[in-house]
């Protein structure tokens, strides 16, 4: 049920999801170049992600507001959808960084 809902959310909000994924990959490049032992990179990454999520919410209200009824008719609130989207993005972001961390350590 949850997987099915997630699939629908990603299908409908594909551009928003792709944009967040792109930013995650760019941050991963930043970590790759600067290394994982600098605290300012983490702070910068946090604020970039925060800005990206705020921007995504803005895009939703500009272009996707009419889709709210689609999900509400399934009994799902917009707040829940945003939570799922952001949680999914955080999970992917952490996974990318973890893989990169081990790849980086393996090479050094």
């Amino acid at each position: 049920m949850l997987i099915n809902l997630l699939k629908k959310i990603i299908k409908v909000y594909k551009p928003i999801f792709a944009w967040n994924l792109l930013v995650s990959l760019l941050i991963a490049v930043l970590f790759y170049l600067k290394g994982f032992n600098q605290s300012d990179t983490y702070v910068l990454a946090f604020f970039i992600k925060l800005f990206t999520w705020a921007f995504s919410i803005g895009i939703y209200f500009m272009f996707y507001e009419s889709t709210a009824y689609f999900f509400q008719n399934m009994g799902v609130s917009i707040r829940k959808i945003m939570t799922y989207l952001i949680s999914c993005d955080v999970l992917i972001f952490i996974s990318i960084l973890t893989i990169l961390f081990y790849v980086d350590n393996f090479h050094r």
Binding site: K8, V12, S66, A68, Y69, F70, Q72
Partner: protein, 219 residues
């Protein structure tokens, strides 16, 4: 008996009060027609029931349980005035999502069969409206709110929709608003008029004239 009712609904748009203590109820097996002039608050009332807006005050009860947002009951479907199914979804998927319990009956309708694999952007405006109406009428929910279901539709499709609503009336409760008031009078068991921010029970067309919804009132 399965019932939905909203009571004491009060809502403002900025300083302007559009609804003041409005009450509306609907039982399963009943079609309630909601009439009113443009801007009187009909759509606002439906949105307040569904939960897509939060009125300043309301008491919403579905089958004996209080809800803040009607859609959280998962027993309420709402057809908004504008298209609401995203372009990326095809008709077959939409049927699986909303009309699981009635999918066999829905798939007997020729227009549905014809477009089963099509995405919504391949449909004309009228086809899209008709199909969205059918999806909500045949949805799994026990209560259906239809906001101007007949707009953009040719007369033959309006008549067809009325037949579908009558067919499912025994199993569901419908609240319908539209400016094609003749069609609303035809299919409704009860008529409620929203006027001067309040609800009025309408017993005959004369009442609609009396309350200024239809022309013809003379002193």
């Amino acid at each position: 008996m399965s019932t939905i009712f909203i009571d004491s609904t009060t809502h403002y748009y900025k300083e302007k009060e559009v609804l003041s203590g409005v009450y509306l109820a609907c039982n399963v097996g009943e079609v309630v027609g909601l009439l009113g002039r443009n801007g009187c608050g009909k759509s606002t009332l439906l949105k307040a029931i569904f939960g897509s807006i939060t009125p300043h005050f309301k008491y919403l009860n579905i089958n004996g349980k209080k809800y803040d947002k009607g859609y959280l009951s998962k027993n309420l479907s709402y057809l908004p005035q504008d298209r609401f199914i995203p372009d990326q979804i095809n008709l077959g998927e939409a049927i699986d999502l909303f009309c699981h319990n009635y999918q066999n009956r829905l798939k007997e309708i020729p227009l549905i069969t014809k477009h089963l694999e099509n995405k919504f952007y391949n449909l004309s405006g009228g086809e899209c409206r008709f199909i969205e109406c059918l999806l909500m009428i045949y949805s799994n929910a026990q209560f259906v709110l239809l906001d101007e279901p007949f707009s953009q539709l040719s007369p033959i499709w309006v008549e067809e929709l009325k037949i579908h609503i009558q067919t499912l009336k025994g199993e569901k409760g419908f609240i319908i608003t539209d400016h094609l008031y003749r069609s609303i009078l035809d299919i409704s068991d009860r008529i409620v008029l929203i006027h001067n921010r309040r609800n009025y029970t309408i017993n005959s067309e004369d009442d609609l004239i009396l309350h200024g919804y239809l022309p013809g009132f003379t002193v």
